[in-house]
Symmetry: C2
Subunit: 344 residues, 2 copies
Amino acid sequence: MKKYNVAIVGVGAVGIEMLRCLKQRNFSLNQLRLLARSDRIIQVDGVDYKVEAVSPEKFDNIEIALFAGTEGEKGASVLFAPEAVKRGAVVIDNGADFRLEEGVPLIIPEINRNRIKDHRGIIANPNCTTIQMLVALNRIFKQFGLKQIVLSSYQAVSGAGKKAAVSLWEQAERVVEKNKGVYFDLIDKKVKPNPDIFPSQIVFNVIPKIGGLNEYGYTTEEWKTVRETHKIFEDSSIKITSTCVRVPVITSHSESVYFQVKDTVGLEDIKSAIKDSEGVAYSEDAVLPIDAEGKDEVFVSRVREDPFNKNCFWLWCVSDNLRKGAALNTVQIAEELVSSGLLG
Amino acid sequence: MKKYNVAIVGVGAVGIEMLRCLKQRNFSLNQLRLLARSDRIIQVDGVDYKVEAVSPEKFDNIEIALFAGTEGEKGASVLFAPEAVKRGAVVIDNGADFRLEEGVPLIIPEINRNRIKDHRGIIANPNCTTIQMLVALNRIFKQFGLKQIVLSSYQAVSGAGKKAAVSLWEQAERVVEKNKGVYFDLIDKKVKPNPDIFPSQIVFNVIPKIGGLNEYGYTTEEWKTVRETHKIFEDSSIKITSTCVRVPVITSHSESVYFQVKDTVGLEDIKSAIKDSEGVAYSEDAVLPIDAEGKDEVFVSRVREDPFNKNCFWLWCVSDNLRKGAALNTVQIAEELVSSGLLG
């Protein structure tokens, strides 16, 4: 069995999860190279790993380069992905920079693995919020068509990077510390945020604004759910709209998804389509984000019909934003590349 | 100026807030009687108050009886509201027991104060989630008509009573305590919940199920948003549907509201209607629940149009669920009773 030289660029929350996914899934590794801003040693699950400062030459002999780059680390893939491609690597980029570019396949393997072959060196990994929603809706879309999607999200802080996750934790520690021994009614729940990470306090709060504001008053995150859905499903007639909200959860995004299908179908048809979907774990009981952490599936529950609107339904979907929403999906794309013989 | 004998039944989160609202708003009080399960002394904002065990006789001479009874204390109003009415009091009930009954006005003063006069002794206060949404939508409904509402909520734990609020706080304390000095990556975020209060952990988690399951897989909370909206707006043609979710916020509910109006209108018409609404504070910047605590207004922000669907819009509304969502609205109803001369 052929073994591959793989690089991971970025060793934050997503990069480390990429490393875990490669190990846990026994990816056929020859050499694994970890690249980031500076040389250092990191420990992951008790094992030490050498991290090297990224430079174009570090991609020599690399066959697959996984770029972790979340929004917070924008730039790494813009600077180095073309360098890696020039040296013969296929880049799979978790960042947002190339997702909507012509000639860059935007891949969720369960949905459009057939598009991987169209790449010209760079394959993009969709936004976490988009991935789990589309995995949940995939067979519904393919079987019945989708007319409209109305999404409200409950997004974990680790989606904004490891610093953001640590920031929520530290805010929780600070609120608890400063109110030690204080009678509940007199608790002061406010803490000063670190504005570089979150503009506002996130512990005991929610923030209905992820990313900057853009056309129509949508945030960049909200536009991602629209444009990436259109590209992945290859159907820009779907009327999709969203409100993306950060909640004080460390890992796993939750989504309240209301949707209308084109065909006339009943609730049982919808449930069957979901149960038959690749990558989905269906549940009658509500699934909570804390229970999805570290798991691979997209958990779908609370599937119900709107009694007042024909062909309209709700679902609640939860998934680990660092795994299926980022690292796992990227590694799955790498696996597809290998198994389809596209790497030669 | 005539002064009134007022009773508050229940001294949990809502009952105490009722007391505060009466004081802060200089309600024309003669005697104030606090009633609950047992005799005791409670301290509110540094002042001691005597609480008496509730019994039918305790309503003698009471002219207005405010029942705090949230879902957690179901029963008090069923048992004692008719007794209070029999003794000549007008009951304003914050609980859910009488809301949908024929002959019981369900009142949000900004919307339907004209219905107060229809009461036969009991006036009901709507559910917190319904109140803030309808205050936000009131003028939009009256000016342009509402075809559809799709609501996803982000509800604070104090909506489930003071015990629930304390429970979130204690869970936060326990998680912080048990991970003291633990490196972030090794933190164990799980805590055992008290299943009498929440079936699942709520700190660092969200729970997409408030109340029991009912017809069509809706929860009781979700049905409240539907049926109370129909009753308050006196229009059961509005296609309203919701997903109600508990989030780890102590006080103030947030709502992601998507709606379609009947008329053809633009974004500026919608914004104007909101700005002109009684009880609403409009903001261009996103308003967060922690900033709404202790305030009276319904804060509306992130008002935008859906670029793909005509006459469809979003708004984000935040309000203190214990004040406008419960105690304040109840006291406002009492004020209307007095000012309209309905108490004689």
